[in-house]
């Protein structure tokens, strides 16, 4: 296995608030890393930094051997290799599902319309959305919208997927359909960095679980060990709160 992402001493502040305070993390190819931690612990910011949606203040992010935080890198080219899916779907409301998916492949990868549509059709078929191709996002359920958002990211054929609490905005009965999609991606060997509150899901799918606390990775390990025998006091307390809230 080779290294997909390496983060070294990544720091990020918003004004006076220091959100990331020195993150070190290595993600191997085909690994699925779940980031857990309380709201505000820096999970989302970390993902946005890896996608270069937020510039970092200090440290280094290396993707497939290339320092993507070095000055003068082609930001757009890097982003085509790293897909990100957001909590609030962020589909383009003025475009059909098909156009949402084919926009970037045609404009960024210079695919022909036909090729982009073929690619989109295959993905929609794989995730049971073929009949939604001509719908507008507003006409879809939250779960369907989020699956389309995942397909939209996959259509760029990225090496890495970043998932930012993709089920947090969904009604409980719609969570499963989205998690199934992610599970399938994991089975297919996709390298993924997943911020999530779904502990049961993290336990099932993760090759490694990282507990973020106040801007640092306080503890990491195999899911079984992390959930049944955490070393750090703060990890224990966080997991107890989750169990008390009935989320695990």
């Amino acid at each position: 296995m080779s290294e997909a992402i390496r983060l070294e001493g990544v720091r990020k502040s918003f004004d006076k608030l220091e959100v990331l305070r020195g993150i070190d993390l290595i993600v191997e190819e085909h690994e699925v890393i779940c980031l857990i931690g309380a709201s505000g612990s820096g999970k989302s910011t970390l993902l946005r930094c890896v996608n270069l949606l937020e510039p970092i203040d200090a440290g280094q992010i290396v993707v497939a051997g290339v320092d993507i935080t070095a000055p003068g890198v082609d930001v757009n080219a890097i982003r085509t290799r790293i897909g990100i899916v957001f909590q609030s779907y962020n589909l383009f409301p003025h475009m059909t599902v098909m156009r949402n998916i084919t926009l970037a492949p045609t404009k960024v990868l210079d695919l022909s319309i036909e090729d982009a549509k073929d690619r989109a059709d295959q993905l929609l078929d794989r995730f049971g959305l073929v009949d939604k191709a001509d719908e507008y996002p507003d006409r879809l359920s939250g779960g369907q919208q989020q699956r389309v958002a995942i397909v939209r990211a996959l259509a760029m054929q990225p090496d890495i997927m970043l998932l930012d609490e993709v089920t947090s905005a969904l009604d409980p009965e719609l969570v499963a359909e989205v998690l199934d999609v992610i599970r399938e991606l994991a089975t297919g060997g996709m390298t993924m960095l997943i911020a999530t509150h779904e502990m049961g899901f993290a336990r099932d799918i993760a090759s490694r679980v990282c507990f973020l606390d106040e801007g640092v990775i306080l503890e990491q390990g195999a899911p079984l060990q992390m959930f049944s025998d955490p070393k750090e006091e703060r990890t224990k307390r966080f997991l107890q709160r989750i169990i008390a809230a009935g989320r695990m």
């Binding site: 757009n76 982003r79 957001f86 383009f92 404009k107 507003d138």
Partner: protein, 297 residues
């Protein structure tokens, strides 16, 4: 276009205002149902009674005959109307030509003003300066200054008052319309551009394909509102000797000392603005229906 409040609020407020105007006029929902039909009858009877009383009161008022003679003279109307209607075509030409330039230039200006980052500060400053300047100066002053001043600059400068009338209207209305566009651009949530950029689209591509199409859709009603304003302001170019409807009415009126030609002119302006105003209302209502349909999934 006020200074206070976020642009988002501003757009919503404009939409709201225009929407409620419509429902006030039509008396709100309820037409068609049995109690609605009764409401229609009450409205009809009350309207007929009200306007009959009003008409009787006006006609019997002292001085009505003098007013009628000066403003509602049928003979004068018939005589002046054809020439005024012909001159009104100049107004139509003015606002149609000006509107095309306004829509394009204002978009350009709004995008300039929305450029992020410290590098683009001078561009932003230029755009803000332009908008502040031309929103502040009375339109008639711009028309007068350019219409009489610019042709005196030299041989190579166009002399046509019509040309300078178009230039003046474009300069002033571009400033207004740029602010409408900007409100639209800023009303599109930041997450849309994050999603576009995360797919590898450049800043320009995400503006072009994702942000602007949504922004323009939202500001169509306020844009049409400004278009109505532009139509009316074409009468201001009479001040530099362009013979349009208002100027023609002045000519007709000064020959006979009768004011009926002005009434004819007013009628023409109203005739073109009313369909546009109703069209704007219809767009707002349709937009609201769509948004509501979207939220009840």
């Amino acid at each position: 276009m006020s200074v206070g409040g976020s642009p988002d609020d501003e757009v919503d407020r404009l939409l709201e205002e225009a929407g409620s105007r419509r429902s006030r006029i039509l008396g709100g929902p309820g037409r068609g149902r049995p109690e609605g039909r009764r409401a229609v009858w009450i409205a009809v009877v009350s309207t007929v009674v009200f306007f009959t009383v009003l008409a009787v009161a006006i006609i019997n008022a002292p001085g009505w005959l003098e007013v009628k003679e000066a403003f509602f003279n049928g003979e004068q109307f018939k005589e002046s109307f054809p020439s005024i209607a012909r001159a009104f075509l100049v107004n139509v030409k003015l606002f149609l030509i000006a509107e095309v330039f306004i829509l394009v230039l204002a978009m350009f200006l709004a995008v300039m003003r929305s450029l992020p980052g410290p590098v683009f500060f001078p561009i932003r400053a230029l755009a803000v300066g332009y908008i502040d300047l031309f929103r502040g100066i009375p339109t008639v002053l711009v028309i007068y200054t350019l219409g009489f001043g610019a042709p005196a600059l030299g041989e190579s400068v166009p002399k046509s008052p019509f040309f300078w009338a178009v230039v003046s209207l474009v300069l002033v209305y571009t400033a207004y319309v740029a602010e409408v566009y900007r409100a639209g651009i800023e009303s599109v949530h930041e997450s849309q551009s994050a999603a576009a950029r995360s797919l590898g689209l450049s800043r320009w591509e995400s503006l072009r394909f994702v942000i602007l199409p949504q922004a323009i859709r939202r500001v169509i009603p306020p844009l049409l509102n400004d278009f109505i304003g532009l139509q009316k302001d074409t009468a201001l170019v009479a001040s530099i000797g362009v013979v349009e409807a208002f100027r023609q009415a002045q000519i007709e009126s000064s020959a006979t000392f009768n004011f009926t030609p002005f009434l004819a002119t007013a009628m023409l302006f109203v005739l073109v603005t009313i369909p546009l105003a109703r069209f704007t209302d219809w767009l707002i209502a349709r937009d609201r229906r769509r948004r509501q349909a979207g939220s009840t999934r």
